[in-house]
């Protein structure tokens, strides 16, 4: 086990931890979408005849709110599967 291998191992381990940490970003959209879904349920309860429109709007809003979570996910995926940091070490 030479030096480079050792550092690479450390970088990979750190990347894995980083990926896990990046997924904390999932909390935000979770809360946001839950809130949106709650409001959607409230709206359907108040106005059941507009159920279709409410559902569509809610899904669209949820998907847009999901962006931040998706950014976190992309970072995690990059760290796990296309890690640029490992390349720096070997290079």
């Amino acid at each position: 086990m030479n030096n480079i291998e050792f550092y690479r191992t450390i970088v990979l381990a750190a990347s894995a931890i980083g990926a896990g940490l990046a997924m904390i970003a999932g909390i935000g959209p979770g809360i946001g979408q839950g809130y949106a879904a709650g409001k959607g349920a409230e709206a359907v309860g108040r106005q059941p005849e507009a159920k279709g429109d409410i559902t569509t709007t809610m899904l669209l809003g949820c998907a847009v709110a999901e962006s931040t979570g998706i950014y976190g996910l992309v970072i995690a995926i990059i760290l796990l599967f296309a890690n640029p940091l490992v390349g720096m070490i070997t290079g």
Partner: protein
Amino acid sequence: MENNLEIVTIDTEIGTEQLTETLTETKVEDESFLNFVTIDVWTLIFTWGNLLILFLLMKKFLFKPVRKMMLDRENEVKELYDNAERSKADAAAIKADYESRLSNAKEEAEQIVKNATRSAALKSEEIIAEAHETASGIIARADKQIEAEKRNAENELKNEVSSLAVSIASKVIEKELDEKKHKELIDSFIEKMGDA
């Protein structure tokens, strides 16, 4: 304890070996695989080209024919409705015409009946009047005739009486009487008598 430790060290060694293996594998596979998250310019260009081609093909094969069919049908339905509307209006016009004609005919018939009644009444009145006239004419003529007859009879009677009287008188008085003078006298006498 020792055993355990050994296992752990072996495990780590296997782990690192696997790690290096995966790393070298990715290095080898780089030739035939792209990275998981990567911007490949050629794929990007292919994506644009594909979307453009799909857009054109779908427009040609799906949207245009379906859209055309839908618009055609819409137009046809509209035309049908227009036709129906038009024929409905036509029918209404015909009906109105017919009704007005019918009412005209009724009026006319009424008029005709009225005229006929009036003319009949007039004629009957005329006939009655004529009959009256004729009857009164006949009566008048008859009256006149009766009068004339009466007068004739009277005159005759007078003449008879006067001549009778004259003859009686002449018989009585014989030749003493101028016939003419006496006749006058008797006539006037009879006249007075007749008047009386």
